[in-house]
Every structure is written in C-alpha cells, then in structure tokens.
C-alpha cells in the first residue's frame, strides 16, 4: 500500500494557503491596520448597532439604565404622530435647500468664477479669505454674527446701516432667524464648493476658452456653454456631498439660536431630545429613533456617492506585492 504512493496532484502545484499561513503572511498588514480598525469599530460600527437597538427601547433618564423595556417600533410611531415632526421636517428642508442653493452651490460657483477671471494673485487672496470662516472656531464665528445682528446701538447692522437710514432697529436674530441660519451656514459652506469648482475651472483646457473668445462669446455665453458643461461632474458631487452634510450638521444652529424662534431641524431635534435639553429628561430611545432615520439616509447617500464616483478606479492592487 505504502509502496505505491499516490502521484502528487499536478493541479495543486500551489496548494491552497491555509488560514494560518494567510495570517502569517499578512501579519504586518493587519498590525498596521489594527489601531484604525479598532477605532472605526468602536466609534462607527458599534454605535450604528447601539443606535438601532436603542431606538427600539424606551430608555430615558426616567427609566435609567436598568428599568427600561423593549418597545418595538413605538418610538417611530411616536415620531410620525408627533405634532412637531411636520414643522421640523419642513424646517430641515428649508435649511438644506436654501443653504445649498444660495451658498454651497450658488455662492461657491460665483466666487470660483469671479476669482478665476481676475489676476491670479488677487484670486488666490479672495479664495483664502473665503476659507477664513471655515477655520475660525465656530463659537467665535457665531459670536461675530450675533454682534452683527445685535440690538441698537450695539449691533453692526443697526449702527452702520439701519440706524443711519432711519429704519426700524431690533435684534435681527429673533426677527429674521432664517436669514441668519442660512447666512452663518452659507459663508462656511461656500468654501468647499469654491475650492473644488476653482480647480475644475482651472483645468479646463485653455484652447476651449480661446476658441470661445475667437468666436466672440460674451462672458455669460462662455460660462453657460463652456464652463458649466465642463464642470457638471464636480457640481453633482458637491451637491450630493453637501446635501448629506447639511442634513446632519447642526452645530451652528445650536450656537446661533439653539433651535429657538422656530429654527429646530431634525438633527438638532435628535440631539436635544437625547443629550441636551433644559428639562433634563434625556429620552435616549426616542432620540436614537430620530437619529436612526438620519443614519439610514446617510448610509444610502454615502453608498450612492461611492458607486457613482468611480470607486474601483481608486482601489488598485498594491504594486509592492507584485515584486
């Protein structure tokens, strides 16, 4: 029996690697990844599970961490039945659509176009200035806006514009809260699109512009028929990306009005209910249900964003392994 040994199978010249071999070969790779993997697991994946689970409980500071119950979809039913839900949804739509169209896209495009049609150095200075609100501490930035809008005789609007014109003076934030919600967010948000649009405009081949000029195009015609069609991909990208970030960002509204004067938006609602309110009853379960809705929207948009923005092209095999 043993004399006639089986011929070595030709096909398995390279035997399938055992699990432990794979592990040994890729040990350093996995070790390099370990800190990032642990952090991503702890602060992204586990939280997504927690928040989904939490949304099916009635956990609040009244029940504490011991006496809570599973309540199934009750939080979601309460959410739909809540009289606040309708106007908060409307506020959220208003906030996202106005800020996105007027500033994150509109103003970004205007600044990018204007700053590429003046001497390079001046254009660079203006773009740097537009970056300033983004890197200013948000608390300081909102404080500036609060002073711009403050009561007479202090506020800049009242002292420099409305007072001298003899018009009505007031504290403009309670008077026109939405103007200031859009302005404060917009002046920060515009710089993202501005940077991307500028590099897109600058990478349009000069020949196209010169051809358009030779044909006698006006500035408007050049923008409409040459520049806009050539940057439609960055336009689409900024629109989707900024929709998502506006939908879930609430920091400056929190600082500006804290949701007063009818400016509560969905993400701030979740935050208030679960983590920060004056009544002191933290409804973790209900807040988690509100946040879960945003998480779902976030995942869907992020996946769409990944699919349509050529992910595979970015994932080449590492060259060094082909050694």
């Amino acid at each position: 029996m043993t004399a006639i040994s089986k011929p070595a199978p030709m096909v398995e010249a390279r035997p399938r690697e055992s699990w432990s071999d794979t592990l040994r070969r890729s040990r350093s790779g996995l070790l390099f990844m370990a800190p990032a993997a642990i952090l991503v697991l702890t602060f992204f994946f586990i939280p997504v599970i927690i928040i989904t689970g939490l949304s099916a409980t009635d956990m609040s500071s009244a029940t504490g961490f011991q006496k809570w119950d599973w309540v199934g979809l009750e939080n979601y039913q309460r959410m739909i039945g809540n009289p606040q839900a309708a106007y908060i949804t409307w506020n959220t739509v208003k906030y996202v659509v106005l800020t996105l169209s007027l500033f994150n896209i509109g103003m970004a495009l205007v600044v990018a176009l204007l700053s590429t049609h003046i001497p390079r150095r001046a254009g660079f200075i203006f773009r740097a200035l537009w970056l300033l609100p983004r890197i200013t501490p948000s608390v300081v930035y909102i404080m500036m806006w609060k002073y711009v809008a403050a009561d007479a005789p202090y506020g800049i609007l009242n002292a420099q514009i409305f007072g001298p014109l003899g018009m009505e003076t007031t504290n403009w934030i309670p008077a026109q809260p939405w103007v200031f919600v859009v302005l404060t967010n917009g002046f920060v948000g515009a710089s993202f699109g501005m940077v991307i649009f500028t590099s897109a405009i600058e990478s349009i081949p000069r020949d196209y512009m010169i051809a358009a000029l030779v044909d006698g195009c006006s500035l408007w015609q050049r923008i409409r028929y040459v520049i806009l069609p050539m940057i439609r991909w960055p336009l689409l990208f900024v629109t989707t990306y900024q929709t998502l970030s506006l939908l879930t960002s609430f920091e400056s509204i929190l600082l500006l009005t804290d949701g007063q004067f009818n400016t509560e938006v969905w993400s701030l609602w979740a935050y208030h209910r679960a983590l920060n309110n004056y009544i002191g009853n933290f409804q973790w379960g209900f807040g988690a249900a509100l946040a879960t809705v945003l998480v779902l929207v976030g995942i869907v948009l992020a996946v769409i964003y990944m699919r349509y923005f050529q992910f595979d092209a970015l994932v080449q095999e590492p060259k060094i392994e082909a050694l």
Partner: protein, 299 residues
Amino acid sequence: MEDTFGVGSRSRTFLPLTLLSLLTLPILVGYVWIVISTFSTRTYGLMPVDANGNFGGWTLSNWAFLWEDPIIWRLTANTLLLATGLTIGVVLVSSMAGYALSRINFPGRKSFLATTLILHAFPSVTLLIAIYFVLRWIGGIPVLGRGLPIIGGFGYNTLGGVILVSVALELPLGIWLMKGFFDQVSWDMERAALIDGCSRWRVWWQIVMPMIRPGVAALAIFSFISGWNAFLIPYTFMASQDQSTIAPYLRGLVGATVPINYSEVAAVGMFQLIPILIFFIFTQQYLLSIFGGGAKGGQ
C-alpha cells in the same frame, strides 16, 4: 500679472474684482469688529465708544481675564492637549492604515477601503447619542476608563475620551488622504529596502514617512486646527464647562442669560482666534489643497 484665461485687461477685471470685494465684505466685518472690540470699553457697531457713547474709550481691561480668571489657563492647557493629542493620534493611526492600504496585501483590504470611503461621506454627528453610551462603557473599565493622569482616562467626561472620539471621527478623511500620498511615492527605494531585509515597520517609519512629509504636515495642520476649534464633542462629552476646553466655555459666556459685555467676551474669542489666524497666514496653501484633496473621490 497673468490672468487665468489670458483675457484680462484692466477694464475686464474691474467688474469681477468689485463684485468679489462686495461679496467678501461681510466676512471681513466680523473680524474687524472683534479686533476693535477687544481693545475698547464698548462698541456701537464698528465704532469704539467710551462710557458716555463718545468716540474713544480705548482700553486693555478686556484682557484682564488672562490674569484674573485662572480658569482660562486650565482651559487653554486642555485645548492645547486636545489639539496635540488629536494631531498625533490622527497622523499616526491614519498613516499606518494608509500605508497598509496602499502597499500591503492582506485579507479585507478592499472592503476596509470601501468602508473608509463610505465613512468619509457618512455623517458621524448622527452617532453622538450612541457614542455617549460607548464612552460610558469605557468609563467603567478600571484605570483606562477614568484613572489616568493628565487626560483623566478615555471614558465619558474625560479629556482622553474627547480626544479618542475626535481621532476616530477624523480617521476616514485622514486615512484617505494618507493613502493618496503613499500611492504617489515611487516604490523603488522601498523594494530595495525590503530586499535588503528591512522590516515593514522600518520601511514605513524611516523611508516612506519622510518622503511624504508635505502630506503629513497638511494632515497635522488640519487636525490641529480642528482640535483647537472643536466645540460639539467637548461640549457634549465633558459635563462641566469649567473643566473642558475654551470653546464650550466661550459658548457659556455668549449664551449667558444676563446681558453680556460683548467687549469682554470678544477678548476671550480673540484669544482663541489668534493661534488660528497665525496658522492661517502661514498655511493657506496647505489648507486650500487639503479641502480639495479631502474630496478627491469625486474628481
């Protein structure tokens, strides 16, 4: 001076220049106010006035908080600690991961890369409620939770916890940027070193990292600024404003129910703003590129 499209005569650039200046004006007004205000008794709009409402009233008394209020120095130390911790954490963790993703084949590489890209777009603020529970759980671990010197630990209501959360939330951007920088490095030197028997760790630390110094600098600057500015995470996960960082403390001053003295509060704001402005003057180019680079996925 050369115009981008070579179409710029003086008359043609006049209109865009004027328009752009008008649009940019609102940004400048706030900064002009904060500078004037910190050095005057009070201001009517942009005009500094004395107690009777006449022009003048220049003073340094708004800065008295620097020596009269010992809290500010503890807050400054905490803010510095947060910014430094965030910078070191983000640069180390994301350059390690970025290197592995760019250079080493290991099971799960592709899916981790996909995850990173999705997380890059994923709105992490929606997870704050759940992160509160994670931090409370970490807080229950002995020593690691709340028994460490200086940073207090990594649990809820500790500076270490705030740093840890901030590092984690910045990782998707950091990993993506670092991977991009590693991808651009030629791998000849690296291969030579590996053939000579150098370990992956030495290759990473002594050969490749020095080659992407501009990338490391860009990410470090970006992280430091976001750590120094951070409001929401310290505000949410540090229970007491007096123990946390400058931003939540300033928010307490601005949001106070009593009539606030804008000039005094502006001085605290200016105090937080100065390092950022200095940073800004020297590093605008880096920052402009990182905001473009952070979104490279779309190009």
